[in-house]
């Protein structure tokens, strides 16, 4: 780490790592509990894998927790616990960057959820332009005309190749199924 770098991002990263390990441990624990409901022949191999994995996860969790109490490295600027405590109020460039990363993470999650919802509701070929146009507009800063043109070309090419030529049976959207049922 370069001299003068605040400690706060490392603490934040440790929090994320700890949370991730906890989630994986919860998942493994769920699988072990599920395993115990199986017959003996079926649960043998999974248990032999899951129990050591759970043990390793607990070791990893311990390592993550202990790393939060590690002595912070000397960053040349006399960084110590006080500096990490003050880092938020300092609002240094590293802290803003982390906020920016979190904000971008939330945005991409939103875009992916939008795509999922549109595909489920409207079907793939309707969902594509409804996803691509706002994305290009918001994230790429393209004009409406350019965004619509780009999305139209993309969905047109995909439809010709996959919908017509290869004839892939894409799942229908929920709206289509409801409309068909009503008819």
């Amino acid at each position: 780490m370069a001299p003068g770098t605040p400690v706060a991002p490392e603490v934040g990263n440790v929090k994320a790592r700890t949370l991730f390990t906890l989630v994986l441990l919860a998942f493994t624990g769920t699988l072990i509990v599920e395993c115990l409901t199986l017959s003996a022949p079926s649960r043998a191999a999974p248990l032999w894998v899951l129990v050591p994995t759970a043990v390793l996860l607990m070791a990893q969790l311990l390592a993550d927790i202990l790393s939060r109490f590690r002595r912070p490295r000397d960053h040349g600027g006399g960084a110590g616990p006080e500096r990490s405590f003050d880092a938020r109020s300092v609002g240094g460039p590293e802290w803003s960057r982390r906020d920016a990363v979190r904000w971008r993470g939330a945005r991409i999650t939103g875009w992916l959820l939008l795509l999922l919802g549109l595909v489920e509701a409207c079907g793939f070929f309707v969902a594509v332009p409804l996803f691509v146009v706002p994305y290009l507009r918001v994230e790429g800063g393209l004009r409406w005309g350019a965004s619509i043109l780009f999305a139209g070309a993309l969905v047109g090419a995909l439809f010709l190749v996959f919908g017509v030529w290869v004839d892939v049976p894409f799942p229908e959207g929920r709206f289509y199924r409801i409309a068909a049922a009503v008819r």
Binding site: L31, P41, Q60
Partner: protein, 499 residues
């Protein structure tokens, strides 16, 4: 045999027969470049188109389709971290980091060269083993397959050098995910939680798409990078086609071992190219524990690509000799041959050898043609790494969604892809190795099925491991490679700790 080989070559190179492998190769390349569809899709489409064709023309076309799609899948794997086919997933592990460093041209050139030469080794082994094919296929049983799976799993700690604990955990989770579905022995549902979608297990294609392709797009968005390549425009066009070609010449041992591995694994029905490429990748890591695998080591492209193409030749052996298909591609090949009155089996190999060699030469020609086109176009392909992120992210995301939906036409696959995309991004951001998870997932079924069969044979008193030469050879290789790489790691640790 030589007369039949020459006659077959003459058939392939004669006019107008030569058009079939050439046109078939070009179509296979286009299809393989588009994620979600592959040479297998094209083969399925081609069956009805070729109903009225001459049988020889069909043989030549399908030989080219089998071989033509393998290389192009590695181009998308290198450029965008999207494997064109599952076997190309191993190429991504080092190919994409090379592209991000501005060495896409080197990676693609190495892939093209290894593909062409690897397919040559596969074809040579196919021809050499044709007379003894029965012994080869019957000599491989559950104990040998179990050892192969263990060998692949033994590389997990090596590929996750800087995060061994995380790597072992990821491998455990990969195996656990691989156990989802029906128990191979008792047919009991495991870890499905009542969800019908999971009854057939977790499909591997959406996992790959999410864990690597979608995760990379998420990372590209979150990081705020302007392009895939982290190098500037001029550096992104760096790398060298010649350097890529010379990589194969500089690593002859690794290339030959990977090709032989791929060809042998391809001969075993049901194993598939994915296992071949990952086992070869793991072997490459074991052969040099101090290498920078996973960070853009060109040998991490060479090994899986050589194995992947050598596997094509090997996979023809059980198809032609026994009529037993070993993969989706060979199933369709078998269907096409049967529809035209060509019945694979011992009679085909003994009475229609020129036809067999025509198929083999068509495959060979197709592999070299795709590699030649790839070599000449490597620079143009590298330009894709400079496409602006705000255009690339939505397009690739849509293509990933398309590939997930096209796989089995179920919304569940798309959900799975997005779920693994988020999981893959979290692993990447927190320094957990995804490759360990994927190796374990790919090998889980092979490992468990053959473990149960081997234990069953042992309990029934029908297993004499000392009387199985292939088992003993594989065991020796496993002990040598694991021991050697462990010794190397220990030496490295001692050097670091100053003792």
């Amino acid at each position: 045999m030589l007369d039949a080989a020459l006659e077959g070559l003459g058939i392939v190179l004669s006019w107008p027969n030569v058009l079939y492998p050439v046109v078939g190769t070009l179509f296979a390349m286009v299809f393989a470049f588009l994620p979600g569809i592959s040479g297998v899709t094209l083969m399925a489409l081609a069956i009805p188109w070729t109903y009225a064709w001459d049988p020889m023309a069909t043989v030549l076309l399908f030989g080219a389709l089998v071989g033509g799609s393998t290389f192009m899948g590695s181009v998308t794997a290198i450029l965008f971290n999207i494997p064109g086919t599952s076997p190309n997933a191993a190429t991504m592990l080092d190919g994409h980091p090379m592209a991000r460093r501005g060495e896409a041209r080197t990676a693609i050139a190495c892939s093209a060269t290894a593909s062409a030469l690897g397919s040559t080794v596969g074809v040579v082994m196919l021809i050499a083993l044709l007379p003894v094919v029965r012994w080869v296929v019957l000599a491989v049983g559950p104990p040998e397959l179990l050892l192969l799976a263990i060998w692949g799993l033994s590389t997990v700690a090596l590929v996750s050098r800087r995060a061994v604990l995380e790597g072992l955990i990821a491998a455990g989770l990969g195996l656990a995910v691989g156990f989802v579905g029906l128990d191979p022995r008792t047919a009991e549902s495991r870890f499905t939680f009542g969800i019908e979608y999971l009854q057939d297990g977790v499909p591997i294609v959406p996992v790959f798409l999410g864990l690597f392709a979608l995760a990379e797009m998420i990372d590209l968005f979150v990081s705020g990078r302007k392009t895939v390549s982290e190098a500037d425009a001029r550096a992104a066009m760096g790398g060298s086609t010649v350097e890529g070609i010379l990589t194969v010449a500089r690593n002859p041992g690794l290339f030959l071992r990977s090709s032989v591995l791929g060809s042998l694994i391809g001969m075993i029905p049901g194993i598939g190219g994915t296992v071949a490429s990952f086992v070869a990748y793991g072997h490459a890591v074991q052969s040099d524990p101090q290498g920078r695998f996973g960070e853009g080591d060109v040998r991490g492209v060479l090994a899986p690509e050589a194995a992947n193409d050598a596997k094509d030749g090997g996979s023809l052996l059980p198809v032609l000799a026994f009529g037993i298909p070993g993969s989706e591609g060979t199933v369709l090949l078998l269907a096409a041959l049967t529809l035209h009155g060509i019945h694979p089996g011992p009679e085909l190999v003994s009475d229609q050898l020129p036809l067999v060699f025509a198929l083999i030469w068509s495959l060979f020609l197709s592999n070299w043609l795709t590699s030649a086109i790839g070599l000449f176009s490597s620079g143009q392909f590298a330009r894709f790494t400079l496409v602006p992120a705000h255009l690339l992210v939505p397009v690739i995301t849509v293509l990933v969604a398309l590939a997930a939906l096209a796989y089995r036409a179920t919304f569940g696959d798309l959900l799975l892809t997005v779920g693994f995309g988020v999981f893959g991004y979290a692993m990447k951001a927190l320094g957990w190795p995804r490759v360990s998870f994927v190796i374990a997932l790919v090998l889980a079924s092979l490992f468990e099925t053959n473990l149960q069969l081997t234990l069953g044979l042992h309990r029934a008193g029908r297993l004499d491991l000392l009387a199985r030469p292939v088992f003993l050879v594989l065991l020796g290789m496993l002990v040598v490679t694991v021991g050697w790489s462990t010794w190397h790691q220990g030496r490295r640790w001692h050097r670091r700790s100053g003792t």
